[in-house]
Subunit: 350 residues, 4 copies
């Protein structure tokens, strides 16, 4: 089979990383088209990487019949519509998380995906493709820790990025801390526990940055989730982590425990100076998950070539979103919230 | 001033450790009397350590006017009454936690303590005297992490001890996981956050050991607590920790984070073999908190000699107990529980 | 400029890794030809990766005028001759370490390289391109640890690989422990200390595997090296590391210390079970240095496109080899050995 | 048996720590006398701790027939003579290391000790009594790492203490880096390897502090030692460790490796701030070896009461000193030095 020809939409920070991966680092893949509403971005990428086509209009790119697949890395608010269009145009689709900013959008995506079962669809829960996270999953499947009982997930953005986020959040709907920041962890929890959420209580506040309160959002927050079979999930999300980008996960089982990223080390260097033994920390998601972003794209291309679907499904996107909204709801009301199945209300369509 | 003369009641595992410390390792202290309802225990201790008096009857020991202070390390159900008697008999009193098994008992102790303000009273929240915990407190007071926002506490007993505990719990009221096991962590949270609890949701279950369900108790459980000023507390307690006795605490502040005991290492040895790099873990509280048990007793003796009260107060015992009961209540009902001030109902007496 | 077209010779374990990188993961690079004396290896690679040319004869590959560069990953005994031929045929050349099995070979390579200064030549001291090692170098250059004073390098192959090595060593001249295994560390020492070796004493033995004695080689050995300005180097090399592939480096400076890979962790997962907290370790060089092998090849391609030479030079290869031979000499004679400059004896030719 | 009555000579920093331990923290021990040539030191200790006798004259203290044992913590230059006098006066003797500043002194002590076999003699190699070091020894004896092959010992004093040391060293003979600083490590090596040294090469220099060169001493140095059976020892000693007091030991065996104190952590607290994850380090020997100093004194008292000799012997002191002098000799001459048995020259007396 020939190389898979991909067009990417969205050339922001993460979009560029994806584009470079697709252009240069993935076997049997060719980045044939780039698309950005910002013309310079598209033109620069085209020139810099020698890409055949550059678009400023997404619909135009979908007209390009040389393409096999569309890679969506645009802002969250566009995902739902762009996924739908690309699937309907017959392309395989990879979309960055989330499926949409609202649960209804996520459900609509699921419906469309289900109507195009011959096309590959993949959502960008890249952590599942991180070597350490994948290794932990393997250990669990091998029974190393017995039955998983509790998961604890930290997802903390660095303080250094907080001003940038505030700027963004004042002008856009991010979904809030639990949907925007914790969504990867909610997916991981479901994946590792093999269990769905039933109840959640979420709390939090604006501690160093009172502006968060005006946004009706939390700077740092915690959700405690009861899953099926009394399994437990602890989620700490935040935007004000002094030491960097702190992604840490722990799974406690009946016979053992796994920890991933206990200290979010930047690399294997330890510096000893008069402050002590210092392990510098990762500064952001591109640094921490460089390999995972690459591996998920490799998997996407492999799925297309091998005519199979990835193990992470559109339903994972929907259910994680539903849980994120339950967290948000609990945080906003202060109440204990029962996580509703997103499918109950939609018996006919799904 | 002459040596402080102490009589100890209770010569179980922890009682013996306290007795040895009092007998041999504390400046200006003399262990003058031991008391146990088990005659052999008392006699063996007397003989082994050369103690002047041995009793099987607590009331008799209280008659001994050579004594300055009573050290209570008996089973929890006796604490309240023994504290009251000793204070009323004019002695300085150290009592192991808890003040009593019920909140009413704790409040009664507080009343008695308040009526004997010239006598030293100390409750055995030894962790505050552990070098690492004390160091963390100092760092917080120096402003190292800014304002504390979130505390996460793990208190996990080793799997190896679970059969012993089940045996005990079938015949005695332990208070349950949150009161018996998490009480030290609840105290630490109040201490580090300088804040009182307002709401709690606690969940848990019996995962590897269904017998816990019959006891209406949890094998492993988690409580999420909202403190004043939106501060957050996460408490994980358990009785089935495969790798040993896992006491870990983290305090996240607006400018930094402190972790104490991230890996509950047994000592400074790392073993490298074909499984990898292995840090063996502490096996129990006597091993982990050897220094803290000694230091708290030193502080008790110093307080007596220097005619001052320790910084840990009877109120700490009452409020931690009240929070423990709120956790227990939430776990049992499944509901979000508001933590009631234990003092509201008792306006006249306190 | 068009893509750099590369032909690789040698398709063993490391050769295949290099070939895959060149074929798929490096911008502006095209793997145009593969060459192996084992016909099936060449044909399989051609088929599997869709490579245009496959050769079993190195000289034939050098006739291919479409090629820009030759990548040498053949057994060590062929390096010298293959480098010379490729340079003389006008190609840019990357060669795996060592330049040759004997110092004379290394010097001959240097002479040839110096006669083709317009062609890029690079030796595969990949550790310099490992993120952690490069980060440490940057820290030193920034003055973070003051003046480097002592370097300690561990290069230990896993016990699991020892039988394979014995099989190889019985039939081939490997150079022995210090030349074959420690050569990367000798290069690192020179790089980090910015200093050349003056004296060495090397000891070692055959501890678990007496066969090493028959080979006149050491299973595990240590060399202490005095560098210019009294700087110190400690090198521990071995073939019998129970926990895996242990590459660790420490640089002690006048104001601080850097450690790289203190525990040679496989990934970011820690497993807690009844043995304790376990960090599994890397199993081999392909796992540990995956990123470095990729980055050095990227650098090679960039150098060609940008018409510059890499910072690691043929002289680094010569001087590290000279030091390796001094270690070997000391180990074999038991004497303190003065490290001779390899250039002294050859005034006319270089 | 009654309490062991001890008189201590030397009330410097370490002497005071020993005295406090003997006075308050050791079962069945009574500190009956203190002795210091500095009258205020003796008087203050007497008053502060309620000690019965205070002396400024060592010979007078030896007249005190109430005493059972003498504990020597005076400056190194006095050890030999004071040990001899105390043994000859019939007392059990504990002496801080070294036995003497010169090998001849150490041998004289050994002769005297051997002439008083009914009295307990113990030398203060306290590390053997440190919990972590003792645990490592136990692991080795259990065969956990197979046969020990290589030991690496770091003994680094903190930079903060360097001015104090320079002041001392300008006016006193310290023995130099290898005898004064590395002596504990030399003892540990002999203990863990169960092997004696045969050859040594030692190098080093004055890097940040040129004054060391004027003292004919090294600021930081390394010795490589070949032991019997080709076992290897690497010793790094220094006076200029930026991050604190760094005592680290590694034992590599045929089946595994042990490390003790890989990072010389101050306690179990990790501080996360904008520099990263920081483990503060121990600041000095009193902090790091607090428990070991106590445990060795406990063992000394137990030996007296149980009429047995400690496992650390006077011969350990002699042989470690002999090795220390070989290191010093090698450092000073630059030559490879054969370690002479200190007993060869003295066939008749020992």
């Amino acid at each position: 089979m020939a190389k898979v020809k991909v067009g990417i939409v969205g050339l922001g920070r993460l979009g560029r990383q994806h584009a470079e991966n697709l252009a240069f680092r993935i076997p049997n893949c060719e980045l044939l088209a780039v698309c950005s509403v910002i013309q310079e971005e598209a033109e620069q990428a085209q020139k810099e990487w020698g890409i055949k086509y550059a678009y400023t209009n997404y619909d135009e790119m979908l007209q390009n019949k040389e393409l096999d697949a569309i890679f969506i890395a645009s802002p969250s608010g566009f995902h739902c519509e762009q996924i739908e269009k690309a699937l309907n145009a017959g392309f395989h689709v990879f979309s960055e998380k989330p499926l949409g900013l609202y649960l209804e959008e996520a459900l609509r995506v699921q419906e469309v995906v289900n109507n195009h079962r011959d096309q590959v669809f993949m959502i960008g829960f890249m952590r599942r493709y991180d070597k350490s996270y994948a290794y932990a999953k393997k250990k669990i499947e091998e029974g190393k820790i017995g039955e998983p009982v509790l998961i604890r997930c930290y997802g903390l953005d660095p303080s250094k990025a907080i001003n940038g986020f505030m700027q963004f959040a004042k002008n856009n709907y991010s979904g809030g801390l639990f949907l925007d920041m914790a969504i990867h962890d909610l997916d991981l929890a479901r994946w590792y526990l093999s269990s769905e959420a039933k109840q959640v209580w979420a709390i939090g506040g604006a501690y160093a940055h009172p502006e968060f309160e005006q946004l009706n959002d939390a700077e740092t927050g915690t959700a405690l989730v009861k899953f099926e079979n009394n399994k437990m999930g602890i989620f700490v999300a935040g935007r004000n982590c002094a030491h960097g980008y702190h992604i840490e996960t722990e799974i406690i089982g009946t016979n053992g425990t796994l920890r991933i990223g206990t200290t979010p080390e930047k690399n294997m260097v330890t510096v000893f100076d008069d402050t002590g033994a210092v392990n510098e920390c990762a500064e952001g998601f591109l640094e921490r998950f460089e390999q995972a972003y690459l591996s998920e794209a490799e998997e996407f291309i492999s799925c297309i070539r091998e005519n199979r679907q990835p193990s992470v499904t559109v339903e994972d996107g929907v259910l994680s979103t539903a849980l994120g909204y339950a967290c948000k709801d609990s945080f906003e009301t202060g109440e204990l919230v029962t996580v509703q199945s997103p499918y109950k209300a939609l018996p006919s369509s799904i």
